[in-house]
Symmetry: C2
Subunit: 220 residues, 2 copies
């Protein structure tokens, strides 16, 4: 492999260019902006397909600055995953409070997923789902983080279904775990197929069908 497996020598935490000022030469780039660019690049090309050079080029910085600031591809990717977790369209699912109606949130999230994925001209799909496929089973260092995220997603869906059932929004599923898995599986599949089918209406029709089948009352 041209992309070697050895990890960069760990270093004292860099000042991180945009975090206020201090002694030393100022960085020529904005850390947040660079991170955003890195997110786009890693999302589009995947962790495997985005080299340190490609990332540095995209960010408009030298490779030396790249290593100095982000400590390497792996560390950067972990940071990117956190960042992605804050902008992913399914984020609201994990923020439902007790007593709150579940259905509108679920509907909105699936609608948003359809809208956002269909609107992406690059059809990048979901970074997390892409990462499952590319890294689990091939990258022992990063896989655990990905696997953990999936398991949390399942738990979120399970809690959410329980709440919806308790609040009478849906009939009580015979097998709560299975229902939670079903939703997770569907959401994953939806993100994948959005790379092939980019018509929002088609995607949403399928979501409507799926959510209705689970007992959610989706308005026309």
């Amino acid at each position: 492999m041209a992309r070697s497996t050895k990890s960069p020598k760990s270093r004292i935490t860099p000042r991180s260019s945009s975090t206020g000022r201090g002694p030393g030469r100022p960085a020529k780039f904005n850390r947040e902006t660079a991170l955003e660019t890195a997110l786009q690049t890693l999302w589009k090309r995947g962790y495997v397909g985005a080299s340190a050079s490609a990332l540095s080029d995209a960010m408009g910085i030298e490779r030396s600055s790249f290593y100095n600031t982000f400590l390497g591809r792996e560390a950067l990717f972990r940071e990117i995953l956190k960042l992605y977790g804050q902008i992913t369209p399914d984020r609201p699912l994990g923020q439902i409070t007790l007593g709150q109606a579940v259905t509108p949130v679920v509907e909105k999230v699936f609608r948003d997923v359809c809208r956002v994925r269909a609107a992406d001209p690059e059809s990048k799909g979901c970074l997390m789902v892409n990462s499952i496929v590319m890294l689990v089973g091939n990258d022992p260092a990063l896989a655990p983080e990905i696997v953990g995220a999936v398991q949390r997603q399942i738990q979120v869906f399970e809690a959410l279904l329980q709440q919806a059932a308790r609040q009478g929004e849906i009939p009580v599923p015979k097998d709560m775990r299975a229902a939670a898995y079903t939703l997770t599986i569907f959401l994953i599949g939806l993100n994948v197929i959005s790379k092939v089918e980019n018509k929002e209406a088609v995607l949403w029709a399928s979501c409507r069908h799926q959510l209705s089948n689970l007992g959610f009352q989706i308005k026309k």
Copy 2:
């Protein structure tokens, strides 16, 4: 990129070692066996992660023989995709004849997917699904083949649902297209999540749930 994008010079079709005998030095390897090995390697590491060297090494042949026999990574991958199409557990879906009961085939296919994916110690998932994620949007040469396969899968599900409805096995779906998409999406998601969850019973419980919701009568 270390993995350049230029394609190898096209050549006169090689004799393909195991196809009978003829003049010239005999190949030291069996083409079918080598293809099987290449399938495993490409399946495990993905098209992006499997270099010509890695493939040659796995097959136990020199890189010169690799290029001579398979003409390069891309041509090999196309061949591998065809091969995979013949061993994929969902193959029977496309072979249902008119008048034949749909439900048992659908049930068996999903059962088989759960069984096969859960039994795979390497959790490779589905080569086709993995390829959607890794290649669509990033490899203009190979993407069309993948996209076509997905579209055919959707059509297969649509025809199959129509037949099932006509034969009274399931209630007529309000939106046939949406139902077909739903099944496709679920099958894709199932293959992805099998990389994270390898307990057959868990996977199958979710399939049961999903198929029941679509109206299929699944036996306990």
